[in-house]
Amino acid sequence: MTDLKNNEGHSHHHNHSVLPEEPELRVKAIETLLIQKGLIDPDTLNELIDTYENKIGPKNGARVVAKAWADDSYKERLLKNSTKAIEELSYTGRQGEHMVVVENTPETHNMVVCTLCSCYPWPVLGLPPSWYKSDEYRARAVREPRKVLKEFGLSLNEDVKIKVWDSTSEMRYLVLPMRPIGTEGFSEDELAKLVTRNSMIGTGLPELMDD
């Protein structure tokens, strides 16, 4: 006999099987039904899409990193209470409620993954790139981080310690990369341009422009 009490969700985890095979039609079906039932507002959908397409993205995180590079007291606040220091730049909320900034040093390189799903600091980095959500990254980053980094073009010295942060809770991790040599006297705006998305996940480094 099936113990129904301990099988919460068994049957209703299969309702999705009536959805059509093509994903476009799946969305269309759900959207249509929810609008017809007065459960979602079509204008809200556009507003949400516009927010993540145009307003929230890795440019935010780059501002945080550049400020930390340019301003020692900000860097100190950022490492001590990351959520509060990031709030100073008005980056708050969904998927970034509790932030931890981890600093790269010559001895330690940090990288971030979420093996169980795809947790990622939205207010500072926007939505995650597809590789971050891929099985390949989720499965391999914790077991063979050096091989994974090599695929990104990042070869670390064998004696550099790698710290992999698996985002299993609501804490969200942002990597503070090392400031590139030769950027003395750069303004915060100039510094922010060097900060790549991957450098804040830990799968890349800041990049000095060639031109």
């Binding site: 301990n6 099988n7 969700g9 209703h12 985890h13 299969h14 999705h16 009536v18 994903p23 476009e24 799946r26 079906a29 759900i30 959207e31 249509t32 039904l33 929810l34 609008i35 017809q36 039932k37 007065g38 459960l39 979602i40 507002d41 079509p42 809200t44 556009n46 507003e47 899409i49 927010t51 993540y52 708050t92 909320g93 969904r94 409620e97 509790h98 931890v100 093996t115 169980l116 799903c117 795809s118 790139p129 597809s130 891929s134 099985d135 499965a139 391999r140 077991r143 050096r146 695929e151 990104f152 790698i162 710290k163 992999v164 942060w165 698996d166 299993t168 809770s169 998305r197 991957n198």
Partner: protein
Amino acid sequence: MTRPHDMGGRFGDGPIPIKVKNGKCVDDEPVFKFNWHAKALAVTLASASVGKWNIDKGRFFRESLPPSDYNRFSYYEKWLSALVNLLIEKKLINADELKNVVDVVTNNNNFSIKQKNHEHKDVLKPKDVSVTLGRGGPSKRENLKEPKYKIGDHVKTLNFSPNIFKIGGHTRLPIYARGKKGKIILQHDSHVLPDKSAHDLGDGQEHLYTVEFTSNELWGITNGNKNDIICIDLWESYLTDDT
């Protein structure tokens, strides 16, 4: 007990799907690769306002998809399927309505969406999007209990699923880190316990810690690297003393 989402450390996955040029990763992916990706994200976020399920329940529904579906679905397909299951569980839609609308969209390309005159009272309005996202849903909670551990303490994780409330229930202790010895490196106050929250059993807040494990402890000295560390956020009930 395993579920398909718990894949940390798994063997058999190929190269990371990135574009590489001159030995370097080229990061030029658009935010949404297809329009339906954007719609899937927006419909999911907007529905959560009326459905009022918490993030843990949302995750549990995604990881509870049958393994064959979980593995073949793309990211947003998982989201959509879990969303439908949640909407039905919350009785916001029913299976017959879903069948009807699927029939309509599949067989008639020229129909237009008719909007209902009265809206659900909790519908997310466009003007509230920015405030709602900016507020988010903090998981930190007050807790009168003192933390059991402090930074520097040596601990050992449970060697079974910490979810004692539901068989096959939600938990955030990955299988690869069960029965392993580590050290507390950060303390994060008290947070909602996903193992309870995902099943409507209250917040059950507990002290949350970051525990570091050596690569050798997790993967053995043949597979590990003596210079690598894996840091995992773990709730107090996931841990025992390692003295």
